[in-house]
Symmetry: C2
Amino acid sequence: MEKIKIGILGYGNLGKGVEKAVCKQPDMELTGIYSRRTLVHPLYKSVDVLSEGEDLDLLILCGGSATDLPVQTPQFARLYNVIDSFDHHQQIPQHYAAVDQAAREGGRLALISCGWDPGLFSMMRAMLTALLPDADVFTFWGRGISQGHSDAIRRIKGVKDARQYTVPLEHAIEAVKSGLAEAEDMKPEKMHRRECFVVAEEGADKNRITYEIENMPDYFTGYETTVHYISQEKMDAEHRGFPHGGTVIGTGKEAAGSFQLDLSSNPKFTAGVLVAYARAVCKMGQKGETGCRTMLEIPVSLLCEEMFMHM
Amino acid sequence: MEKIKIGILGYGNLGKGVEKAVCKQPDMELTGIYSRRTLVHPLYKSVDVLSEGEDLDLLILCGGSATDLPVQTPQFARLYNVIDSFDHHQQIPQHYAAVDQAAREGGRLALISCGWDPGLFSMMRAMLTALLPDADVFTFWGRGISQGHSDAIRRIKGVKDARQYTVPLEHAIEAVKSGLAEAEDMKPEKMHRRECFVVAEEGADKNRITYEIENMPDYFTGYETTVHYISQEKMDAEHRGFPHGGTVIGTGKEAAGSFQLDLSSNPKFTAGVLVAYARAVCKMGQKGETGCRTMLEIPVSLLCEEMFMHM
């Protein structure tokens, strides 16, 4: 059987994770890593050649959701079957519309927002909502690194390095599981706390830094926030990874369901999800399907070789 | 919009649950309850009229998996879109083949083995297997009533009434969650214990009954089994419901995932799943799809009105 020819656009943490995941698949072949930067990599190709029609079954877009994917996914959905992990939840409908139009015009199939949230957790929210009709469904994130919050702390004057962990509040999880939580009380800041590890520059005023963190609008105000000052050595030794995870919980009058994930590496797991769904998109594309999809529109059977094994 | 016309075949606990669930759906209309027995019910019709071509969008088959469904599902899949909750795991491939052929010949769409296990748990096993490639995936059942084990105890001489709860062993769950469990050690009897509540007939030898339960091949041998003798009043007061549930756990080197369900009523929840998927089957049938499906082949998006709400 001919191998599925995969290209990767973007070579950060996610792209590197996808590279490793693709290389482990016996039915897949990595044929190009496309980048705007010149990479020292045997499979490196300039992103510009993508417009010339590379010999690819599917292109996995590994750029950022802020500026890369809103442009790249519609652009390349015209030319290739594509997958991205666009994660700006509120902008998914617009992104979907743009990608759908491009993919239909090009006769290609696209999958957007593929990962664990949005992605797996979206599927769980939809399933629990549909199957527990009287239930409220809540999502807790963490314990895990929030890149956005870590970046925000790093921009404070006197901060050399920082990582922020989002941590679900145990008492909020218990309230939800026991069915005692009211939906209106369960705002993100009542469900999570924020734990910050900061390397301060020598002589920096730590009280001021802590104050600026705790009072940063949108990011930290309203949250229970703790700030730990540590050395760069300790930061490098203990906070290098990208752990994440979370729990989707639905509690109805007569039934409760929950789905939990614990990931030692957020980008590695997302890479694995992208590659598993890449296979599904190729199968659907071969049947002539075109346009945009989310994971909710992909049947689980397309992820497995032998469906009955799991029945 | 015209309502989806639903018929129910079989009027035990599951059929009654489906009746209630259908009546709660604003877009569905229950048009007939078909039975071999004559029922006192305004919607009662004899099962015989089904062969004459009733005006139905979908027939929900609520009979038993042992003898009813293997005959009824292929028989009526020729004439109607159908759903069943066939739950003999090992016989699903044969059942699928028979129903698929009948449904294709009749130009209808069928969904089999719809419920929580097989069903939701099958989806979770398939997803966790696909997305945690180095993980072992285990299923724990309970705490919940096993009808088969309860019936087996009731057949023992001197037993007036009995209920058997299947209970997952906490230490086995912990072993799986910590990644320490070896797949070969995780046999059902190492993962669960069996808790029996028995009403003995007056003068019956309880030691003999306990011995016969503990040593019943296939059902109890090898399991940690406890037997409690209680009064019929206590049985009726405390053990009338059909609670069930369970957990699917996958633990890989770098990621772990689990899905847990707690149901106060097994048949009521299964009824809700059947009705949610009835809507999906009707949508797919309207698009001209025919043949047999399992829940793994139904995209989650067909269960919800507004997919983006969950993204």
